[in-house]
Structure formats: structure tokens, C-alpha cells
Amino acid sequence: MKESQESSIREAWGLCLILGLIMINFPFVHIFNTELLIFGIPELVLYFFIGWPASIVVIWLFVRYSGTDVQTDSKEVEDKSNP
């Protein structure tokens, strides 16, 4: 149970890495690579400086989520072994 939880967390992290790599590389960034100004700031700059903290928030949430999850998991196991 715990092991599969570990491995699914690992897969989720791997997925994030791949998604991240795609999102900051060609051709994905090409979408934002325009002359357009949003609020007076070039779109590409805005994309990076919003996407970047957003990804940090994702990591933060993920760390919190997976952290608490693993703990409750081990608790459950303990509970089951001592009926």
C-alpha cells in the first residue's frame, strides 16, 4: 500500500518535470513569443514571471499534500495492525 503510494507520488513528480520541460520550451513558449503587451509588459515576460511562481506554488501544494498523505497512510497501517 505504502509502496504503491510512494511510486505514484514519484510518477506524479516525473510528470510535473516533463510538463514543465514542455511548457518552457519550443514550441509551447512560441505561443507567447509575440509583440503583444499585456498591461504594458511583453507577453512572454509576463508568461514566465507568472508561470514560474505558479509552478512554485504547485510544488508547495504537492509537497504539503504528499507529506500529510504519507503520514496518514502509515497511521492507518498502524491502526489496522492493532485492532
Binding site: W13, N33, F48, V63
Partner: protein
């Protein structure tokens, strides 16, 4: 909208103030580090704080990024971003990648990236050395860059800029008394490194002072950068939007700076830089050190996963505004772009802000230099110096002090080399670009590290070849062009390729065109690195030890199953606990060794005698190795232990663990355990082998109601299995006959496949030959299991039942195999006993031979009135080939013989006996020495030829009546004769040859007259060829001198004197060769 202030005048700060503030800051750093160390001693470790860990990771941001990011942004646009986006991306993987590396490093006491790779790959010394060399090569210039940044920024602060756009490199430090500030800073950093980075030799120990100081510096550099960012964005301009708007208005032609896919920053380069940064943040030696070696809690990784990217984000938030603002204020001039962060506050009259920025930059440089120097010094010590020390085999009681001093010297050396780089090549292209070049170097470690973590087949040949090839390509495609651009190499190689071959152009290797230098280099170096790594991993074989190590790395999170634990080893002739401590003390110092062992033993069970049990010793060995590895690296630690154990003749060997391999359910446990226990008792009883086997079978048959149990052993000559023991109702077929080895029978199958074969129901069997016998004897189920010694089967344990079916459950098979293992132990014990008995028998025979040989020599030499005589023969081994004799011939004369048969074997002793017999038998008929030698030669010709032995002899005959001595020689050492009256020594010699070579030789005979007081000394080569410790022979001269000096002694006293002098000379009680001495003195 606030108009951007125009440049008022460049304000400067006095050099004195800058220096004072800088040294004040260094003092603060020392205090912080000292405080951290103090906290550690009082038990409150600051490293337990996860913020400290996350902040210390920011050692990644050096002055290259602190100042350089803005410069990059102003000249190349968004190109600065990948250096920070890469680490943010790789942080996603930290929970399984970094945590795995941390866990492994803790388990193996790993000290550096070189050590990590070397540990994983067969503890290869070569790999450690290669990685270290490349790190030194790629990183030391980076230290120079940091020193350069400090020196330049100091100049900018304290030297007025005459005109904007002046080349900053042109300024020398113009400080009071021409002090070279960079040198002072380098020295301070070296002292810091030596104090807080090399406190003890144990590199796997944490360095609180160093890490906390680095974390502190990270805070300072962030505050400084945010301060200047806010100042520029909101002080000089009206926020982000204002900066961008004004920039686009003023420089519409430069809007490419805010775009990708441009000529400056093509997408490929963007991608390359992301990859380089991802690898660098993991594998740069200083990052590895801070992230892995200094980690004390895996949970810290979790918080660092978002804190570190957040730090990087904040560091970069104001890069663009500062860069664009700088361009606007400087009218588009980019020549000072690298130092906009400094010049903007200065030029707008805010020197104190500039001073804060300077301190921030100083922090960025100092942190990098401190950590890198400590890391590289550790790598140099462990992977370059230690292997040499071990090779030289220096015999010293305690290395630890010397080693720690070498490490401190290493830190100083690394920083000073960095300083000299800065002095010599300070403004070269190569140095300015070393940031990315070193990133590309660290990237080469990527495949070997990541592959090593997840792929068991990856082996050391693959890693060594991959990394070496990667670095070769890195050197060729990155460094060579850098050298050319710095002007150290002719540009010929860039234009025409190596040796003028077009395909070898460093920037267009094999015709690959159209990419920037980093993409080009990354592609080729990774292609070669990865291909070699993957191919060799597939095809090269791993040693058993490497496999074990690979498993330890890949399966670090996999809990060991009891079966794996059951694979026990023991060490023959194992060292004691104290000996392990002595070994450790030699390298790490006595106190740490004692502390380590005390800690270890506190977790171990100690037996009644106060020692560790046999199977604990291998664990202690691993512990010793790990402890040593923490100080000197994994590869040297392995060599130290292997050398030590092999010098003792100790070996690791497999042990059959009686209970470890059996998993027993609750219901059956008591019965089965009791069987195993009883079997173990039978094996350890003193019964003979046959009885032991019978008892085991008896036990098996009784406990499990088998009708027949058989043990067969392989007869190697006929390759058949012969019955050795049998219990139960024997039948014609089962148990009586030998078995041929083939796969047609179940027993043959069990032996040949080296695995248990079970037939739970004989109604369903597939082997026709077996079927016939099984049916005839009414067997209902059967099992065969091989008896295995060192992995190979030597026999089969079989059990048959005529009533039950399906009794061989998995549990029972485990027990059955266990019993077979115990039979194996009994077999091995018996073999050892037999060997011991044979050895003893041989020894006893030799003792008898020795006694017999002793009786062949004259036991008491006669007490005569005209001569005094004494003799001594000391064989080097139990029997020898030396012989002397003294025979009285019908009262008128005496024969004196000395002979030496080559070798010290039984053969030599037999020839010696033969010689004696011949002489005694032919005494009557042969009267003269020469005749006797002639006869002996003829006699020995055939015998000696066959035995490869030879005999030398000196034969003398003395007639007391006329004091005449006649003699002949058969190749023997020439006797010495002391002529008392003339006070000189003469040697006696005649023509002749050793026995057994030629048939037709004539032995010459000579004569000499003796006088009272003359002494004749006969000897064999044992004494003159006795060797001292300096490989000098005792020699005839020394012997002659002794004879000359001691002419007043009796023959026996003289012999004793010679023996004493011989022993003093060799420094040993025993001689390597037989020694025989005979002395005859003529009396008045």
C-alpha cells in the same frame, strides 16, 4: 510619473571605508560560523532548521549570477532565465532523486561527487581520480572569476569613473599601499575554509559553521539584490510597467531582448541552457556538497523543493527592470552592463546602497569560494593523494594529523590557484565564460550518477569511459574555442580543424553547423558520453562486489528481505575489535576511532567473552570501511581494508546460516525448529563423519515418517553419486546403487541443475526411467536436494515416502534444504579434519626422519691426545642435506669429511644417508681421499642425475704421527687453516668437481703439514651465505677473521662463537640454510 533622474555625478566611497566594511563583514561571517559551531557543541544544531538548508543551496547563485544576470539581460535578453528555470524544474524530482542520493550518501558515508561515483562503480580509484581531475580543471577557474568580481566591484566603488564606458578591466586596485585586495580576500576565504571546512578529517561529518555562514550570505545577497531592484524599479522609475514602456519607446530596435527564438537566443540555445542548469545544480561539486553531504534530515528536501526555486525567483524578479533601467539611464551603452546593479545607485548618488550591493556580491563570491575550495580539497585528498599514499605503502603509526593538514593545504592551494588564474588570465574570454563552461563540465557526471541510481547493470567501465569521452569532447568543443578566443591558441584550429581536417573543427564537429557553441558542445559530449555509458553497461561484466554495491545504490529504499539478510559471510582469521580500532586510528586518529567503535558497539550484542560473534565481524568490517570512507573516500577505504585483510591472510567466505533461510509458520514452528536445532547439535558433536550423517538421516526419517532417507556424494572419478549413508527400508533400486548423472532421473536433475527436485505425487511423473523404479518400490512421493559447498553441488540428500502424498510443502522444502546445508557443513568439517590429520601424520614422519638423521652424524667426537675436534650441524628445516663425519682408521690416521647435498628435503636427507653408508662400507678398501672421491662420483652419477640433486664434499685424512694432512675436494667450500706460527690463514683447495656431473674426472689430492696450534675449519655454505637484513653475506672474510681472533679457544668454543656471531649478523635465531661447522685443532 517620476522622471528618471539623470546622472548627477558618480559618487564614490573612500577605499578605506569599503575595506573597513568588507573586513567588518568577514568578521561577522566568522562570528556567525563560530556561533554555529558553538551551538553544535552545546547540542542545538542550527542545521536542523530547514530554512538553513534551503538557503545554503543558494550557494548556486554566485557573483556570476549576482552581477552577470543583469549584464546578460542587458546584452542578450532572456538568456539569463534558463540558469534559474532549470533548477526549478529539476526540483520536481528531488523527492526521489535527491532524497535517494542523500540516503545513499548517508549509508555509505560519501564525501563528494567523486566519492559518490567511485563508490557506486566498484569503488574505482581511477573513476574518483578522473572526476576529481575534471572538477579541478573545470572549477578552479570559476574561483578566479569570483575573486575577480570582488576586486572589480571594489574598484568601481572607490575609483571615480572618468567617463562612462571606460573598460572596467583597465582599473588596477588603487588602494592604500598598493594592497592587492583580491589576495587579501583570497587569504581570508582560505582561512575560513581551513577553520570551518576542515575541522576534522571526517568529511561526511557536518560543517555547521560553513553551512550556516553560507546560508547567512544567501540572505544578505537576496536582501541586497531586492534592495537595488526596488530602488531602480520604484525609485528611479515608476514601477515595472514604466520601465518596460520607456525601454520600448527609447529602443524599439532592441525589443528582441524580450523575445525568444531570436538570433541572440535561439530556442536550441534556450533548451541547452535549461539542461545545463538542471545538471549543474545537482552535480557541481559545491552543490553536491551542500545538498547531499551537509543534509542532516531528508525532510528538509521537501521544503527546499519550493523554497529554493522561490529564492531563485526573487533573485530574478528585478533583473529585467535593472537591466532595462540601466540601458535607459546609460543611453543604451552596455559596456558596464555587468555592473549596473552597482553603478546605478552610485551614479544616482546612493553610495550606501551601492555598498550594500557590494556586500551582497561579496557574499555571493565568498560563499562559492568557501564551499568549492573545501569540496575540491576533499576530493584531491581522497582521490588523488590517498591512492598515492596507499600505493607508496608508507609505514606510519598515525596518518590522521598529516591527512588533515594536507586537506587544509589543499583548501589554501585551490584558492591560491584560483587567485593566480585571476592574475594571469583575468580578462580572458575563457575566464569570463567559465560559468557556463563549468556547468557543461558538471553535466558530464549526469549520466553516470543518474544511471547509477536507477540501473543495476551500469558498471565502472561504462562510467569511466562515458565520463572520459564526455570530457574529451567538452574540452575540444568548449575549451579549445575559448582558448583560441583568449588568444592562447592559433585560430587555425577553429577555421581549418585539427590537422587541417574539416570534420574536426571544434565548433562544427563532424560537419554539424548552425548551432551555438553550448548546444554544439552539449550534443557531442552527451552523445559520446551516453553512448559509451549505455553500450558498455550492456556488454561489460560486473564483478560480484560491484553488483552488491549497485544493489545498495539502486535498492536503497527497498527494505532487505530476511532472505537477503540470511546471506551471511564470515571472515577467516578475522581481526579482533581492537585490531580494527588500531587500523582506523592510523588514518583517522585515535580519539575519533575510539568514539566510532564505542558508538558501534553500543548497538551490538557482545558475547560472554567480551568479543563479537563470528558473524558480527563482517559487519564490523563494513562499519570500519564506511567510517574510513567518511574520512578518506570509498575507494581508498576499500584498498586499506583489502590490503589489511590480505596481509593477515583473512578472507571472506560464505556461511551457512542455520535459521536465516527458513521461514516458519506459527503452527509448525516448534517441531521444525527442534529438528533444525537437533541437526545443528549433531553436526557440532564430535562424532565421526559417518555417524553424523547417519544421525541426521535418522532424525529426518523419524520426525517426518519417511520410509527411506539417503545421502549420496559425488565420486569425482566415475562422476557417479555413491551412497554414503542410508536410513529406512532399503529397496533394490533406491539406496543401493550408484547413480549416473543425467537429466533422465530426478536425482540427476537435482544435481545437475543444482536445485531441489520434488515429486509430490508419483502418479504424475514425466521421467520414464524413474517411473519404472518408483512404481516397483511403491514410492508415493520423493524429494532430492543438492548438498552445496561454495555454490557447487557435492552430493544429494533424498527422502522417500511410501504412504503419504503431497507432504513437500514450500516450508518443508526450506527445512529440507537447510538440512542438506548442514550435511554440507559436516562434510566440510570432515574434510578439514582429514586435512589436519594428514598434516599431523606428515609432521610426525618428518620428526622421525629428523631423529634418524641426527644419529647418522657422529654424536660424540672422540677425545684424542694429539687433536681436539668438534662439529655441529643445524638443519634449517626438519631434515637437511649437510653431512660431516670423523672416522678413525686403524689408529694411525683419521678421516674427516664434510659434504653438502643441495636442498633440505627428504630426498637430500636420503642422499646424505647414502653417502655416509658408502663411505663407511668402503673405508677398508679405499685408502686415499682422492680415491674415495673418485669412487663416490662414479657411484652417484646415476642416482643424482635422476633426483636433480648434487653433492659437494671435502675429504681429508690426518695422520697424527707425522702431522700430515692430505685432502681432496669435490666442489665444496674451501676449508680454512689457521697457521699459528705464521699467524696467517690459508685455504685448502684442489682440483675437482661436484658429484654426479661427469664420469671421467680426476680428483686431485694435495698434502700439507700441520703444527701444534694450527686450526682447521670446515664449513658448508650455510654460514658464509647467511644474510643480514641489508642483504649482505656473512662471507669467508668475516669467518676467517673470527678464526684468527679466537685461535686460543677450544674447537667447541670456536663453533659456539661463530654461531653467535652468525645470529647477531643475521638478526635471526634461525638460519635459512643448513649450517655445518667442524673444527680440528692440533694439540702440543
Amino acid at each position: 510619473m517620476i522622471p528618471a533622474k539623470t546622472i548627477l555625478s558618480m559618487s564614490i566611497i573612500s577605499a578605506k571605508t569599503v575595506l573597513l566594511v568588507s573586513f567588518g563583514y568577514f568578521l561577522l561571517l566568522f562570528l556567525v560560523a563560530w556561533y554555529a559551531e558553538k551551538c553544535r557543541k552545546t547540542g542545538t544544531c542550527l542545521l536542523k532548521n530547514s530554512h538553513v538548508y534551503s538557503l545554503s543551496l543558494a550557494v548556486y547563485c554566485t557573483s556570476w549570477t549576482f552581477y552577470g544576470s543583469v549584464g546578460k539581460a542587458a546584452t542578450s535578453g532572456l538568456e539569463f532565465l534558463p540558469i534559474y528555470l532549470g533548477p526549478t524544474l529539476i526540483a520536481f524530482t528531488w523527492w526521489f532523486l535527491l532524497r535517494k542520493m542523500v540516503r545513499i550518501s548517508k549509508q555509505q558515508n560519501i564525501t563528494s561527487i567523486a566519492d559518490f561515483l567511485s563508490s557506486r562503480y566498484d569503488r574505482s580509484t581511477a573513476l574518483g581520480a578522473i572526476v576529481t581531475l575534471f572538477a579541478v580543471f573545470g572549477i578552479t577557474p570559476y574561483i578566479a572569476l569570483q575573486l575577480k568580481a570582488i576586486s572589480q566591484t571594489l574598484d568601481i566603488l572607490s575609483v571615480p569613473l572618468a567617463t562612462s564606458g571606460t573598460d572596467l578591466y583597465g582599473y588596477a586596485s588603487k588602494l592604500p599601499g598598493n594592497i592587492d585586495t583580491a589576495f587579501l580576500v583570497a587569504l581570508l576565504l582560505a582561512i575560513f575554509g581551513m577553520l570551518f571546512g576542515a575541522r576534522s578529517l571526517d568529511s561526511s561529518e557536518k560543517h555547521e559553521g560553513l553551512v550556516v555562514a553560507v546560508a547567512f550570505e544567501s540572505v544578505i545577497k537576496l536582501i541586497a539584490f531586492l534592495a537595488v531592484g526596488i530602488f531602480v524599479t520604484y525609485g528611479l522609475f515608476d514601477g515595472f510597467i514604466d520601465v518596460f514602456q520607456r525601454f520600448l519607446e527609447q529602443f524599439p530596435e532592441r525589443q528582441d531582448l524580450l523575445r525568444l527564438g531570436t538570433e541572440q537566443t535561439p530556442y536550441t540555445k534556450w533548451f541547452t541552457l535549461i539542461i545545463l542548469a538542471m545538471m549543474a545544480v545537482m552535480f557541481l561539486p559545491r552543490q553536491f556538497h551542500i545538498m547531499i553531504t551537509e543534509n542532516i534530515d531528508e525532510q528538509h528536501i521537501k521544503s527546499a523543493m519550493w523554497k529554493f526555486p522561490a529564492y531563485l525567483f526573487l533573485m530574478n524578479l528585478f533583473v529585467l527592470p535593472i537591466a532595462l533601467g540601466g540601458l535607459i539611464i546609460n543611453g543604451g551603452d552596455t559596456s558596464q552592463a555587468d555592473y549596473f546593479v552597482l553603478t546605478l545607485p552610485l551614479s544616482t548618488g546612493h553610495p550606501w546602497l551601492a555598498l550594500l550591493v557590494f556586500i551582497g556580491g561579496l557574499s555571493a563570491s565568498a560563499g562559492m569560494v568557501m564551499v568549492s575550495s573545501v569540496t575540491i580539497a576533499t576530493m584531491i585528498l581522497n582521490h588523488l593523494v590517498m591512492p598515492i599514499i596507499l600505493k607508496m605503502n608508507i609505514q606510519a603509526q598515525n596518518f590522521s594529523r598529516a591527512l588533515i593538514n594536507i586537506k587544509r593545504l589543499g583548501i589554501l592551494g585551490v584558492i591560491l590557484i584560483g587567485y593566480s588564474y585571476f592574475k594571469v588570465i583575468g580578462s580572458s574570454y575563457a575566464l569570463v565564460n567559465i560559468g557556463l563552461i563549468s556547468f557543461a563540465a558538471a553535466t558530464q557526471f549526469g549520466p553516470a550518477v543518474i544511471g547509477g541510481l536507477f540501473w543495476k547493470r551500469a558498471n565502472h567501465k561504462a562510467a569511466i569511459t562515458g565520463i572520459s569521452l564526455g570530457f574529451l569532447l567538452w574540452f575540444y568543443t568548449l575549451l579549445i574555442p575559448a582558448f583560441v578566443r583568449s588568444g592562447w591558441l592559433h585560430s587555425d584550429i577553429l577555421q581549418n580543424g585539427l590537422f587541417g581536417i574539416d570534420l574536426f573543427k571544434p565548433l562544427e564537429l563532424f560537419g554539424l553547423r548552425g548551432f551555438d557553441i553550448y548546444t554544439h558542445s552539449l550534443f557531442w559530449s552527451m552523445l559520446f558520453n551516453l553512448s559509451a555509458y549505455l553500450t558498455l553497461s550492456f556488454f561489460a561484466q560486473q564483478s560480484k562486489e560491484e553488483q552488491v554495491q549497485a544493489e545498495k545504490f539502486v535498492d536503497v529504499f527497498v527494505e532487505q528481505s530476511p532472505q537477503q539478510v540470511g546471506k551471511l559471510k564470515r571472515i577467516s582469521k578475522a581481526p579482533t575489535v581492537m585490531e580494527f580500532v588500531e587500523l582506523m586510528s592510523k588514518f583517522i586518529g585515535e580519539k575519533p576511532a575510539q568514539a566510532a567503535i564505542a558508538e558501534y558497539l553500543s548497538h551490538q550484542e557482545i558475547d560472554a567473552r567480551g568479543g563479537l560473534s563470528d558473524h558480527e565481524i563482517p559487519n564490523l568490517k563494513s562499519f570500519t570501511e564506511r567510517t574510513l570512507a567518511g574520512h578518506v573516500g570509498a575507494a581508498p577505504a576499500r584498498i586499506i581494508l583489502e590490503n589489511y585483510l590480505s596481509a593477515r591472510g583473512s578472507e571472506m567466505e560464505d556461511v551457512f546460516d542455520i535459521f536465516g533461510t527458513v521461514t516458519i509458520s506459527h503452527a509448525d514452528s516448534r517441531e521444525q525448529l527442534s529438528v533444525l536445532y537437533e541437526a545443528a547439535q549433531i553436526v557440532s558433536s564430535k562424532e565421526n563423519f559417518q555417524k553424523t550423517l547417519d544421525n541426521i538421516l535418522e532424525l529426518l526419517a523419524q520426525q517426518f515418517k519417511f520410509d527411506l532417507c539417503v545421502i549420496r556424494f559425488l565420486e569425482p572419478e566415475s562422476m557417479t553419486l555413491m551412497v554414503k549413508s542410508l536410513v529406512g527400508s532399503s529397496s533394490k533400486h533406491f539406496g543401493q546403487f550408484e547413480r549416473n548423472l543425467n537429466m533422465e532421473t530426478y536425482i540427476g536433475q537435482a544435481f545437475l541443475s543444482n536445485a531441489t527436485t520434488v515429486v509430490n505425487d508419483t502418479d504424475n511423473i514425466d521421467k520414464p526411467i524413474s517411473k519404472e523404479h518408483i512404481k516397483r518400490d511403491g514410492i508415493t512421493c520423493l524429494a532430492h536436494t543438492p548438498i552445496i559447498i561454495e555454490g557447487d553441488p557435492i552430493g544429494i540428500l533424498s527422502a522417500f515416502s511410501k504412504t503419504a502424498k503431497g507432504i513437500f510443502t514450500n516450508e518443508f522444502i526450506a527445512l529440507f534444504e537447510n538440512l542438506a546445508g548442514q550435511v554440507g557443513i559436516a562434510w566440510r568439517n570432515d574434510q578439514q579434519l582429514q586435512k589436519l590429520l594428514r598434516g599431523r601424520e606428515q609432521e610426525r614422519e618428518m620428526q622421525i626422519a629428523k631423529e634418524i638423521q641426527k644419529t647418522l652424524l657422529p654424536s660424540n667426537l672422540p677425545d684424542l691426545e694429539h687433536i681436539a675436534i668438534a662439529g655441529l650441524c643445524v638443519p634449517a628445516h626438519q631434515v637437511g642435506g649437510d653431512y660431516y663425519d670423523f672416522i678413525e682408521r686403524d689408529n694411525s690416521s683419521y678421516d674427516l669429511i664434510i659434504a653438502d647435498v643441495s636442498g633440505h628435503s627428504i630426498g637430500s636427507a636420503l642422499i646424505m644417508a647414502e653417502t655416509r653408508t658408502f663411505i663407511h662400507a668402503r673405508m677398508e678398501s679405499i685408502k686415499q681421499p682422492a680415491e674415495m672421491l673418485q669412487a663416490l662420483n662414479g657411484y652417484f652419477l646415476k642416482d643424482l642425475d635422476r633426483s636433480d640433486l648434487f653433492v659437494t664434499m671435502f675429504y681429508l685424512q690426518y695422520n697424527p704421527a707425522n702431522r700430515r694432512l692430505i685432502y681432496g675436494n669435490a666442489g665444496h667450500n674451501t676449508p680454512l687453516l689457521w697457521k699459528k706460527r705464521e699467524q696467517k690463514i690459508v685455504t685448502l683447495d684442489t682440483d675437482g668437481m661436484i658429484f654426479g656431473i661427469k664420469s671421467d674426472i680426476t680428483f686431485e689430492q694435495k698434502a700439507t703439514d700441520l703444527e701444534a696450534g694450527d686450526i682447521l675449519l670446515l664449513y658448508t655454505d650455510g654460514i658464509i651465505e647467511a644474510e643480514s637484513k641489508d642483504n649482505v653475506f656473512f662471507g669467508i672474510e668475516r669467518l676467517g677473521k673470527l678464526l684468527e681472533e679466537c685461535d686460543d679457544l677450544t674447537p667447541q668454543e670456536l663453533i659456539d662463537r661463530i654461531m653467535i656471531q652468525g645470529r647477531i649478523f643475521t638478526g635471526m635465531r634461525h638460519f635459512n640454510d643448513d649450517i655445518t661447522l667442524v673444527v680440528m685443532k692440533i694439540l702440543e
